[in-house]
Amino acid sequence: MGRYVAQRIGQALLVIWLAYTVIFLAVQLLPSDPVTIFLSTDSAVDQATIDNMKRQYGYDQPLLVQYLAQLGGLFTGDVGYSLASGEPVALRISGVVGSTIALALSAFATAVVLALAVVVVATLTRSALLRKVVLNLPPLFAAVPVFWLGLVLLELLSIRWGVMSLFPDGSFLSLAVPVFVLGVHVSAPIAQVLLKSIDTVYNQPFIDVLRAKGASASWIFFRHALKNAGGPAMTITGITVGTLLAGSVITETVFARSGLGAVVLQAVTTQDVPLVQGLVLLTASVFVAVNLAVDLLYPLLDPRILKSNGQGSPRALAV
């Protein structure tokens, strides 16, 4: 167990460090430095301003110094300064991240409920037609663009039926609809993996034994199959972090909500490289942390993972 935990934590740290290094190198590969790119949209800018700003942000230092200084900054929570506002990137992000986290978490809960509903109906229904319909839902959910579903619901609910305001006003629907839109999108991969692993479990002999002993279909499903199929679904859950983030940015734009989405859009349109860099680094860290948590919780759910060759990540089982 200790070995497994140490391995997982070491791997997570390695990935964060690598991600940081790759991003740093990618920024160096740009046609010019971030300051010049940022100021390129300005028509009248002289070399002195550029040099001055470069010095302020430390882009005139040798590469190795920049690399180490920025790497050191990571440990103190300093991920650079926004070129557009001069604010620390961490402050800029932490100021708005709350509403995005709320949206993402509620959407995630919705997605899990939706995915479970799909799986329960598909497994327990006796109607072949209903099963067929339900089984086709996840591929459909995966194909519906978040922004399109959001706009269609907005058109129906607020313009045609007038039950919801176009802008967030704190009413129930103005919170629930964005959550639902994002939840539908995220539920697709969770449902697909859960369906697949439920299928695998149902092909195992112990299910036949349970049936022979007279267990009912729902008893087998809830008491035995779901538990055994939960592992891979939990793993895919960690991987949906990225989908949740991208979906949040788009959902926030469609529903005019404030949050990380507005910051991301602003950072990209003003070509604010350090801000984008900080956003990427933070997201990657969240992704790695969530997946580390999933990996560490996995043995509690399925101790077999510790007995398998030891180096296999649970993620390998999910695919």
């Binding site: 791997q11 390695l14 990935v15 964060i16 690598l18 991600a19 790759v22 991003i23 990618a26 920024v27 740009l30 046609p31 790119i37 591929p139 459909l140 995966a142 194909a143 519906v144 663009p145 978040v146 922004f147 399109w148 706009l151 269609v152 907005l154 058109e155 313009i159 045609r160 991987i239 972090v241 990225g242 989908t243 983030l245 991208a246 940015v249 788009i250 734009t253 469609v254 991301v264 859009l265 950072a267 990209v268 349109t269 070509q271 604010d272 490289v273 984008v276 860099q277 956003l279 990427v280 997201t283 990657a284 992704f287 790695v288 997946n291 695919v319």
Partner: protein, 291 residues
């Protein structure tokens, strides 16, 4: 030893249990493939010869025909400049498909090289490349696209490159696992024993036999790329406004949500249909290749 004992048993059991299956399953798999392929051919036709499918001009509008609801004459209605939306969807196909195609091509080529190296060039190379893939997986594809779009000007090419880089990881993983599977088959050993070099065996025997799942991923990934590109196009990071592009069409319609529902709803249905069909096509391919 155990391998040799297991093999005949597996082969014979496969024969007895699945012998009738090919006769029944083959035609249905083929029909499914054709059913999903035909509409996709239509979409490809839109991209290659848009003039055959619509005579309306996608860029210049007719001033007297603003905001017309869908009708026999304008299937998808008209927009704020009196342009036929169906014509804009048809003409926008090539823009969307080209960007998505560029993305998939980048993912396929880079992913295949990385996957091949990881699976055939020894343990150190495997560990190194797979950690790199982990990094690519740790940064959401959406953000990778955003970095590229920020660093270079927003536009279809940087969009395609960004989405392409984001899809390298999934191709690398599939190619690696397929090559690992094929590499352990007997005929590969035979090819090495009969004097094949690393290069010839990989190119002649391993790669061709590992293509099935990769082709399937290609179809699915094209759908995912279309989705990602239309999303980023919706945010305004793709082709500039006069060009018809699927995501941009919807984003233009957003301002007229109250007066012209068809400007957002109908182009979106085309995106949904294209992505669903590509995913289904990918699943059918996998069914046919996996005996």
């Amino acid at each position: 030893m155990t391998l040799h004992l297991e093999n005949p048993a597996a082969a014979s059991s496969a024969q007895t249990t699945t012998a009738p299956a090919p006769a029944r399953r083959r035609p249905s798999a083929r029909t499914g493939l054709w059913l999903t392929a035909l509409p996709l051919v239509l979409v490809l036709g839109w991209a290659l010869f848009p003039g055959l499918f619509t005579t309306a001009d996608p860029i210049a509008g007719v001033g007297a025909e603003k905001f017309l609801a869908p009708s026999a004459e304008h299937w998808f209605g008209t927009d704020h400049l009196g342009r036929d939306i169906y014509a804009r969807v048809v003409h926008g196909t090539s823009q969307t498909l080209l960007t998505a195609g560029l993305a998939v091509l980048i993912g396929l080529i880079a992913g295949t090289v990385i996957g091949l190296v990881a699976a055939t060039a020894g343990r150190v190379a495997d560990a190194a490349t797979m950690r790199l893939v982990d990094v690519l997986l740790a940064v959401p594809g959406f953000l990778i696209s955003l970095i590229v779009v920020t660093a270079f000007e927003p536009g279809p090419i940087s969009l395609g490159v960004g989405v392409g880089i984001a899809s390298i990881a999934s191709f690398a993983r599939v190619v690696r696992s397929e090559v690992l599977r094929v590499r352990n088959l007997d005929f590969v050993e035979a090819a090495f024993l009969s004097g094949g070099t690393y290069r010839s065996v990989v190119l002649r025997h391993i790669l061709p036999n590992a293509t099935g799942p990769v082709l399937s991923l290609l179809a699915v990934d094209l759908g995912a790329a279309i989705l990602a590109i239309s999303g980023l196009g919706f945010l305004g990071f793709g082709a500039p406004p006069p060009t018809p592009e699927w995501g941009l069409l919807i984003s233009e319609g957003r301002q007229y949500l109250g007066s012209a529902w068809w400007m957002t709803s109908l182009p979106g249905l085309i995106i949904v249909a294209a992505v669903v069909l590509l995913a289904a096509f990918g699943r059918q391919l996998l069914k046919i290749f996996r005996f």
